[in-house]
Assembly symmetry: C2
Amino acid sequence: MNAEKDAGHSRKPRADGLASRHAILDAACKLATTHGLEGLSIGELAEHIGMSKSGLYAHFKSKEELQLATIEAAIAIFNADVLEPAQKSRPGLARVNALVEAFLGHLLRRVFPAGCFFATVAAQLAARPGRPRDKIVGVQQSWAGEFAKALEQAREAGEIAASVDRAQLVFEIMAMLFLVNFEWIVTQEPGVLDKARAGVKRLLDEASAGRSKARRERPLQTH
Amino acid sequence: MNAEKDAGHSRKPRADGLASRHAILDAACKLATTHGLEGLSIGELAEHIGMSKSGLYAHFKSKEELQLATIEAAIAIFNADVLEPAQKSRPGLARVNALVEAFLGHLLRRVFPAGCFFATVAAQLAARPGRPRDKIVGVQQSWAGEFAKALEQAREAGEIAASVDRAQLVFEIMAMLFLVNFEWIVTQEPGVLDKARAGVKRLLDEASAGRSKARRERPLQTH
DNA sequence: CGCTAAATAGTACGATCGTTCGTTCGTTGA
DNA sequence: TCAACGAACGAACGATCGTACTATTTAGCG
């Protein structure tokens, strides 16, 4: 993945150039969260960061390249803000909760101005074939994969029974995070986030209720 | 709501005009489902239905009016294709299931070329204040209201316990419909719709399990 | 019928779109 | 120190955007 000396003999990137590129992509992420990746225009973006249209454009070979780079930048932000913190938690159900809480916190502290970058962009690109769409779909799958991994670890640790349909569980968790994101955008009311918390808690309580040597209705120690 | 003699003294609408308007809005609904309401352009729309740009534009006072009319047309289609058929079912849990099945059928038979019109458009407009957004939010709320009503009737009929948090139930049902719509768009695989079916079934089974004078694990007669 | 307004096409407008070019400026490696 | 090259700019491109006017055709009521 890492492209050091990409192809041929392009000499060197400059320090201020990288800073500009970073500033561009940072603004692009924020604008794309509200306007969408297609709705993001180069002129608007340039004006927004106080740069000339052509100066900005020089950093990218085409608009699609800008879009792909923007997605990449959003991935980096999301990883640093949500995924990596959650990785510090213990594997298993604790990590599932950590992922959920990290995501809700991500919304609450408005890392992007209008909820989850990927939810908005995915909804807009879902029906528009192309490299940006493929990349976004990949992100969604790897985000689902995080939950799948954590649930697999929960099964190995005996926190949930092997009979639990983990793929279905992943779907239902993601569904609630997906919808709560949009309710959050519309209402801006922190209380709506509790709907996702309550839903996920119930899902995990049930999944762990029927585990190995334990009876139903036992209170779950989330610790 | 009904605007017969709207304002002043505009004389009369013509038959072929209404037909054109219908054709325009029909195409607009379909295009907006893939391109989004903002991405829909008048030139593209005109070319798509074989009409001149100005001829098409004469039907609307502005693009926003076109957008609002498009939403209205989509509402009519959705009502006829999903809501009204479901209203024929018995109130209560049966109607909840009917609403879900009507929606999944709506996706499966591709009434719009890329899943649910309102899901796509809502995702795009959620963070963009304006009359179109307000209208879409209203549609979502009334769609949620249908589930709330049916669940309220279910409670009255004793199909679910009064202790069940129906607002939470509505949220979780809608969440699964919302996500399954996008998985359907991306994968075009009818099997994914079963994830929503399974999720909703489990939700309703649980809600009805703890009802008035009945013990757990009793099979639910959906009839 | 004929009259009239609705329906459509034609043309053009200013603005903005993504993109290209030529040029200047300033950083940086040799 | 200096030449080389990345970074940024202004201007302009053809295309398309939403919108506005005008002219022509056509449908439907008296």
